[in-house]
Symmetry: C2
Subunit: 362 residues, 2 copies
């Protein structure tokens, strides 16, 4: 059923696409968090992270996705926390999270660095398997393992202890201080509804709020009204998908949802020639503060900050955008220091710029 | 650029689409593993798990995906190992894996049940952060924490110890016995090339090999020749995608790649009325042993085994398929036993059927 693409403004989007069922609950949690941070005088940053999905069916089997493990967002969130910010971490379900990111299943699986004390009696796999004899296991839980001196039969491989202790200490401190609030999205629709609601709550902080939009958001979506109810059947030749454009959400974000918030968006390209022109066009169109441009294959060690020159007024000049914008490149040398994460430098630079931004209020 | 969909046979597929770069290395590992299991007389099952992607661009930013966390495959692999099988676990990168699946980041994050012994000196987050002061951390690694009686400052929360010890014990035993071999795919192209190669290696085991195809494989793909090099640009209206059908891989798998292997495929539907007819059609078309049918919303507690009646010959009867096939439903009562996993019953039933299948050889 080929049909004309619909052009959605953000108003028509929210008027026709249903909100996620957990939205009210999520907003209440954010409101509470923002109020606590406001009372403590902390700056708050919203970090969005991971890719959004576009379901092709109402009963979701197939979906379009955007490539993102969530490394940029999860890593940056850790450095913002370290810099004294409170963080609302709005991320794609199952994407990387601050702290636990150091121990993803594939690169550093945690079961590999736990050890069993061989001197203690241990049960055998064949006689008692997890889940299977769960009822008998439960009854054993009350009588703790018979370790006299140590509280557990389970230990950490020596070479991994120092790093784990660092991560764990940071994790526990952040939880104890209540400076990290986590939200989850899956679809681009979840993302758009959440972003609007969180931005509106966070606008209470005025200039002390930063918006760090690192999520990889789909440019296209399939309106609810065009979606197939059941799994699209194969066997009928090729698959045709026709999608509509996601509304340009930065526009209402800058103009309506936030008040003087410091907004940082990202541009990911694979063609280097497009990076700067597209970043500038974005700043011209939406009028926010910074675009961080990155090339898909160089993003771990090189990014560019594109922003309006401090001296220039936010009025578009007829002489062209060269005079209005400036680029600042951040690069790290992975050969010299391969433990270095570029997010450390990104966050340091943003914190500095945000401090200046906050001072303008005074 | 609208173009006619191409119809790919499996021959033309492999003749025109490039193999993944790691294929030769992966095959060598599988060959070695199969030889060791053959020497020990073990049955081997290939478990495929997780969803495949269809990249829309050569420099991948966007892709089509199939919904699957990999729960069915990862859970089944554990029960196969417990039943004495050796397992080749061929899974989507970052999808769930046997054992570590119990501690996914979201449902049971492992940092939450580790504790720091407060009596021991611990470093503070603000003064030493992971990665940042990594050089000074490295130098500390040689001087272990000053625990006198216990080997680590890090302990496991008491309520989690018993279950973790069970999982960890099983994990270590499987690693020590060398009965689990893990392979990774991302795209549907990776999957198809790997499946063919692994099947060919595993066919050395003849009837003692089982193929448990639980991965959620795309029915459609975008041939290399039609792919856009760079990120598809938005701003040009709607997105049109036209994909070709993935060749029906079960056909050559049954007829050419495996020799008398026991092949189990899965059918996931959202429309209950389609489940049995489609499972029967699949058996008729490909002539393999079992189709396990499951409904998207009931798959955790209900599946159906569709297979040829033991008495009937593999010739299609003109009286219709009702006389040729039989259905066996497996259901578990989640209210009665909510720790029970249906994969335990699925694997028990398959092991029984496979044993009969192996005996036919004698």
């Amino acid at each position: 059923m080929p049909s004309e693409p619909t052009s959605f403004s953000s108003e028509s989007y929210f008027a026709t696409q249903p909100p996620p069922s957990t939205l009210e609950h999520d907003i209440a949690g954010v409101r509470n968090f923002v109020a606590r941070q406001q009372a403590s005088g902390r700056n708050v940053v919203l970090v969005t992270s991971g890719g959004t999905t576009v379901p092709l069916e109402l009963n979701v089997v197939r979906f379009l996705d955007n490539f993102s493990a969530g490394t940029r967002g999860a890593t940056s969130a850790e450095y913002f926390l370290k810099s004294g910010y409170a963080v609302i971490f709005m991320h794609r379900q199952f994407s990387l999270q601050p702290f636990s990111r150091h121990y993803s299943h594939s690169t550093n699986p945690f079961l590999d660095f736990l050890e069993i004390d061989e001197d203690q009696p241990s049960s055998s796999f064949s006689s008692s398997h997890p889940q299977i004899s769960s009822s008998s296991l439960t009854s054993q839980t009350s009588s703790e393992p018979k370790a006299a001196t140590c509280p557990s039969q389970i230990g950490v491989t020596p070479s991994k202890r120092t790093h784990l202790l660092e991560v764990l200490t940071a994790y526990k401190q952040v939880h104890a201080s209540g400076t990290l609030h986590t939200l989850t999205f899956v679809t681009v629709n979840d993302y758009l509804w959440l972003l609007r609601a969180v931005s509106q709550e966070l606008s209470a902080l005025n200039r002390k709020a930063m918006y760090y939009l690192a999520a990889a958001v789909s440019d296209f979506f399939l309106p609810r009204q065009k979606m197939s109810e059941h799994k699209i059947q194969s066997g009928k030749g090729s698959l045709h998908i026709e999608m509509d454009q996601v509304p340009k959400i930065l526009k209402p974000m800058v103009d309506e949802w936030t008040r003087n918030g410091y907004i940082v968006s990202f541009k990911l390209e694979t063609d280097p020639a497009l990076l700067i022109p597209k970043a500038r066009a974005s700043l011209e169109r939406y009028g926010h503060q910074v675009v961080i441009g990155n090339d898909l294959n160089r993003r771990k060690f090189e990014v560019v900050f594109v922003s309006r020159k401090v001296s220039s007024t936010p009025v578009r000049l007829t002489t062209g955008s060269e005079d209005v914008f400036e680029e600042n490149w951040l690069r790290i040398d992975l050969n010299q220091d391969n433990d270095k994460e570029i997010e450390e430098d990104i966050v340091r630079e943003l914190v500095k710029r945000h401090e200046e931004w906050v001072r303008k209020e005074e």
